[in-house]
């Protein structure tokens, strides 16, 4: 019976879809270790040639470094601005709330190409093309809606009586936010930063306008490389990206598992903190964008 079930059409389809989703990612890794510059699969010998190609070339390393810097800056700026907006939207703004909210979320609905053209136009007028600041601001516009949504949903599920208790004990509003609210919504703040980082890290369309030889991010360089050359250097980069991602996902799972275990053991006070806090960030569906974070996903 068990054997028969394997050939059930639904199971076959299930396997096929899973293969379709995962096979391309798996195939890249052996190719990256092939010594030959023409495609060999499976490779006859193993070599680090394409990894050396990447790390030995300043243009690649600089591109990766720029992407990391921009990504971190976007993560900080977007989370900060987004957190203020989320606090305003959940606690203070009443008049024109709907309008403000739609404004903040609108970059998700407007197609990325249109947003990019607009940002490119204003950056040209301001003379900020091909600059770090230009890309940073552009990516912040794209990442901001995610930050607002993630932090807003954490604040919505937040038990306000905790804040009221702090205030009644004499804490100021700012102190209450810093000492009570922020630690509790910390997981969502981190989720927002992760999303913002990845939005920037994987963004290509906007940087085809804003970037240039002087400001080439890793995806832009990969994109230009991919459309003009066939050297497997890109296999090495892709493999590193895939392995890093899977590693991070495993780490995240492990942390969650550890946290769950720790929560079981912890005393009431600690448990309370985790219990009332950490309303888990919502899974996000993305806007009208291609690219990853813009593709959504979940923290």
């Amino acid at each position: 019976m068990k054997v028969l079930r394997c050939f059930d059409p639904l199971n076959l389809l299930f396997g096929a879809v899973l293969t379709f989703l995962l096979l391309p990612l798996i195939v890249v890794i052996p190719v990256s270790f092939s010594p030959s510059s023409v495609l060999q699969f499976p490779p006859t010998r193993l070599s680090w040639r394409w990894y050396e190609d990447f790390f030995g070339d300043d243009r690649w390393v600089n591109a990766a470094w720029l992407s990391i810097r921009v990504g971190l800056a976007v993560a900080i700026v977007s989370t900060l601005i987004g957190m203020l907006a989320a606090v305003a939207l959940t606690r203070f703004v009443t008049l024109g709330k709907g309008l403000m909210r739609s404004l903040v979320l609108s970059p998700l609905i407007v197609p990325l190409i249109i947003t990019s053209v607009g940002i490119y136009y204003v950056m040209s007028e301001l003379g900020m093309n091909s600059t770090f600041q230009g890309i940073l601001l552009g990516h912040t516009v794209l990442a901001l809606p995610y930050s607002v949504i993630i932090i807003e949903s954490a604040l919505r599920g937040y038990d306000v009586t905790l804040d009221e208790a702090a205030v009644s004990l004499g804490a100021s509003r700012v102190l209450t936010f810093r000492k009570i609210t922020m630690p509790i919504i910390l997981p969502s703040i981190l989720a927002s930063a992760t999303f913002a980082f990845i939005t920037s890290w994987d963004e290509i369309l906007l940087v085809t306008f804003l970037g240039g030889p002087r400001a080439q991010t890793l995806p832009l360089r990969m994109f230009e490389f991919l459309t003009t050359q066939i050297r497997p250097t890109i296999a090495a980069i892709s493999s590193m990206l895939i392995v890093t991602l899977v590693g991070l996902m495993l780490l995240y799972r492990l942390l969650r598992w550890q946290r769950a275990r720790w929560r079981e053991r912890s005393r009431v006070g600690d448990a309370l903190r985790w219990e009332c806090g950490a309303p888990s960030a919502p899974a996000i569906l993305p806007g009208v964008h291609e690219g990853k974070p813009t593709e959504g996903g979940m923290p």
């Binding site: 195939v27 495609l39 907006a85 606690r91 249109i114 569906l285 009208v288």
Partner: protein, 373 residues
């Protein structure tokens, strides 16, 4: 400070960022789709002492933006020097004659100079500026071009195929997931999320090595003797669809799975206990209950698919042009009029679909959805 004032001040950074870098540029850019910059005007600086009395534009296409400094010697001989904005040096000089009271359009191509009746010695500055006029020309030009229909048809075709394939595969996959114990389903869902989170270019590269003429699939097909010559799998419309399904399928799976999880299983048991067969239960109970998810997922995937740029650019190999690619190309060669007109078309289509979606399911669902739990 009142609540409203605190709220507004907290919103300020977000609002300013979005106004300066999103809303205002969009308005300015779409303004460009209704204006035309080409017809240029020439103005004569007031207070000039030379004998040029008036100036008008004859052939705007021959003119560049800048300033002609025209020197007259009082006897009919004229010399002129041209500088364009931002340039440090004189870019062109011409000289000739102009008789009092007559017009001269040969001296400076495109510009018609009218000499004063009484010749004087001195200089005049003639500045050629761009005139912006309201026009629907960009839209007409777009509408009449063959490329427009081809691009719109191609973009829609790809989006429809992507949506249909995603829906069929996603539905079946999510259905199988929904039959599993929760822990195992979560494990498989996690596997689906790996491509979801992988850098888009890494995935596209993977498809180029799978589908290429000397790629893995062709290699395997030839080795097993199924085909004699390599098939053209890459750089065509179908390759783009394959790539886009790979990008969009995880979305569809997540939406369908969350819809299926929310279904009350006892309804299915009830149908069965009343004598319905497995297939009948599926068709008459399960399927209708999942239809909201089917609509939501399809519209979402369709809207996102309309805006694709990177996947068709890499996997299409120049044979596929989508709306986004067209706009990107036109902007890069500074053809703002046509680019922004096309942008307006894409925006209107997207917003229309979005409004329909909003009516049916609420915008929240498109933007955030508590997909899991």
């Amino acid at each position: 400070m009142g609540r409203a004032a605190i709220g507004l001040s907290l919103m300020t950074p977000a609002l300013v960022t979005l106004l300066v870098f999103f809303v205002v540029p969009l308005i300015l850019v779409f303004g460009k789709s209704f204006t035309e910059e080409t017809p240029k005007r020439a103005t004569l600086a007031t207070g000039g002492t030379g004998s040029i009395a008036a100036v008008s534009v004859e052939q705007p296409q021959n003119l560049r933006l800048g300033t002609w400094v025209i020197t007259t010697d009082g006897a009919g001989a004229v010399s002129a020097a041209f500088t364009s904005p931002g340039a440090r040096a004189v870019e062109a000089t011409v000289s000739g004659t102009i008789s009092p009271g007559a017009t001269n359009d040969a001296l400076i191509p495109g510009l018609k100079l009218i000499a004063a009746a009484t010749p004087r010695v001195g200089t005049n500055a003639v500045t050629i500026i761009s005139g912006t006029a309201l026009t629907l020309d960009n839209y007409r030009q777009l509408w009449e071009s063959v490329a427009f229909r081809r691009i719109i048809r191609m973009t829609f075709e790809i989006a429809v195929y992507t949506t249909v394939v995603c829906l069929l595969l996603g539905y079946a996959f999510a259905y199988r997931l929904s039959l599993m114990p929760r822990a195992r389903a979560n494990f498989f869902l996690l596997l689906c999320l790996v491509p979801f989170w992988t850098a888009i270019l890494a995935r596209l590269y993977a498809w180029t090595i799978l589908l290429g003429r000397r790629g893995i699939i062709n290699d395997w097909l030839q080795k097993t003797g199924l085909v004699e010559r390599p098939l053209d799998l890459l750089f065509n419309r179908d390759a783009v669809i394959v790539g886009m399904v790979h990008v969009m399928l995880p979305y569809m799976i997540l939406i369908m799975y969350s819809t299926m999880l929310s279904i009350d299983r006892t309804l299915l048991d009830a149908a069965k206990s009343l004598g319905a067969s497995g297939f009948e239960t599926f068709r008459r109970v399960f399927l209708p209950l999942t239809m909201p998810g089917v609509y939501a997922g399809s519209v979402l995937v369709f809207i996102i698919s309309l805006g694709f740029f990177i996947t068709p650019a890499v996997l299409g190999g120049g044979k596929v042009t989508t709306i986004s690619m067209f706009i990107q190309d036109k902007v890069r060669i500074s053809d703002w009029g046509v680019a922004t007109a096309m942008g307006a078309v894409l925006l209107v289509i997207t917003l229309a679909l979005f409004l329909v979606f909003n009516r049916l399911f609420g915008a929240e669902r498109l933007i955030t959805g508590a997909i899991r739990k």
